[in-house]
Symmetry: C2
Subunit: 337 residues, 2 copies
């Protein structure tokens, strides 16, 4: 049984190919009677149009590309769910691409998008990414792009984020109110939009409460490697060096617990910990982790919705706009009270 094409369908129906095509698309040019006949034959022959032929002809693919650094990460996994929920509703396919935090991969992926493979893009930049020529190039080809979570402020498009600055500010304040004087801030590259905002929130809160700022208290992580881990460890080893930690991304919570276990540091007795995190297990860690829980699903959903809406218009237009969906702090035992 050879694959049936629209041609076969047309012949079977004694109609022209164009008529059949229009009938399937429910065009107003076609009579209801004919549409019915076509629909029936489609069922009968189990006709499924070739996806690529359609996309080529119509110059749109009903597909969006999602570019994220990592999928083994509650935030991004949940965001994907949010994106999917909207995409599905609008009949869009979702292509997921992982950069694994590599700028080179990110470039390759965006370059590929210039092939017309996707109608639009949702993206959270890799932490290696410091420039945006590749994004500009893509935008120049007319492919709309919406940022979520990790953005580029310089680019003229919509971005969906959480209240990074405030959350970090509040988290810091929470620790301060709990008596912390020496608070560490752990982060990946501080070029990243989210990191720099969260860092400022942290710093401003310290200043507001008359606590000293120190570069030494900002612990950078580079490649999730042993080195970063040892770096944190040596920092915590020197006694009295810290009594509080803010992890600016979920991935960094685990090394903290690990080091504390190794060094026999009690959380929250010796050191209080709060982390940006969407971990399902946060409440069952030892001790339960106080988190800044980001509205990951909502962020994904909103990003997708904004993109879908833009794609729906004949003249695609994405305003430079920042949509902020607030995080919530969930206080647990890793911070006092």
């Amino acid at each position: 049984m050879s694959k049936i094409t629209i041609k076969i369908l047309a012949k079977e129906l004694q109609l022209s190919v164009s008529t059949v095509s229009k009938a399937i698309k429910d065009s107003h040019e076609i009579s209801n009677e004919t549409k019915l006949r076509v629909t029936e034959m489609v069922k009968k022959l189990n006709y499924i149009p070739n996806a690529y032929a359609g996309s080529l002809g119509s110059r749109n693919s009903k597909t969006i590309g999602v570019v994220i650094p990592e999928v083994v990460d509650s935030f991004f996994a949940l965001a994907i769910n949010g994106i999917e929920s909207i995409a599905q509703k609008n009949g869009y396919h979702v292509l997921i691409y992982l950069t694994h935090e590599s700028f080179e991969k990110e470039k390759t992926i965006l370059k590929d998008f210039e092939s017309g493979r996707v109608d639009g893009v949702l993206m959270s930049v890799s932490r290696e990414t410091t420039q945006h020529d590749h994004i500009d190039d893509l935008l120049k080809t007319g492919v709309p792009l919406v940022f979520f979570d990790r953005t580029f402020d310089e680019i003229e498009t919509t971005q969906i984020t959480t209240n990074d600055y405030e959350s970090a500010y509040l988290a810091t304040e929470h620790l301060i109110k709990n008596g912390c004087k020496k608070i560490l801030f752990l982060s990946f590259s501080n070029i990243l939009s989210i990191t720099s905002k969260r860092l400022r929130g942290y710093q401003d809160a310290l200043v507001a409460h008359n606590l000293a700022l120190s570069e030494d208290n900002i612990i950078p992580f580079y490649k999730e490697s042993k080195i970063d881990y040892l770096n944190l460890r040596s920092k915590l080893e020197s006694p009295g060096s810290a009594d509080g930690i803010i992890a600016s991304v979920e991935k960094l919570a685990i090394p903290i617990y690990q080091v504390c276990e190794e060094l026999q540091l009690n959380i929250p007795g010796d050191i209080q910990v709060i982390s940006f995190s969407n971990l399902e297990t946060a409440a069952f860690l030892n001790p339960p982790l106080t988190t800044i829980t980001q509205p990951a699903f909502e962020i994904g959903k909103t990003a997708a919705a904004v993109l879908m809406k833009a794609l729906g218009k004949k003249k695609i237009e994405l305003l430079k706009e920042e949509i902020i969906i607030p995080s919530t702090i969930v206080i647990r035992k890793s911070t006092k009270c």
Copy 2:
């Protein structure tokens, strides 16, 4: 700047379209000299071939579809990473589809694959799926499919799994050796291939150690809903009803911890817990969770490799074969010793 096509490229080079096409594909029919000229012009004009035109013409898309139930799940997230690593190496794109455990969605997705959108499929069936007409249909259209983790034994294709039976057997034995007499087995639908194998492992281990089998000790979870949770809770509430639990999938570990906390049951004092799980946080839970850790990344990698290899041949052929990659038990504090 209008999009440049191969036609423009050809005109610029004073060559025919076909020659340019072949040159780009590094065909032996084209002289090195010409290839060089073409390559240079491609660079110069920043030519990027239209993805859909290519796929339509060549009748293959260099794209594989991955169908999984969920992405907020360490196992599947890691498996995706494994798949991606191989796909990327072979120049394949990866389309990820989530069924959210819905049979209807799974059908819709596979139906769409009949459109030629993907060259091959990697799949882990939803837990609602009890029949496989939709899979048969897809295979009939010539799209190869490889199962991983959750499979269908009846279907003539390769499947990549872990040693579900043995792992469960060993896990059960571990609990028994730790003194457990009444061991619960928590699972989703026991139609699922993995569940039924794990269940048999559990049962056989009980029998081998002269412990009674009881239907009451098999706790089914249906929709991750409150009801399931309460069901588990009421089971654990009645005193002496259980001294050990095996969670057959990662997602079920959390409700156990939750219930135990609520009921003030000590793990492992009152009840020992072991779970199939790839949770990164397993070691930092309270108490640290003993896990059967599946080689998720490897499974994904292998599944992709098998598929890629099949796709590489002119006559695609996937033998009915079971590739088993063993899990490892990591003993932690949620089980004694």
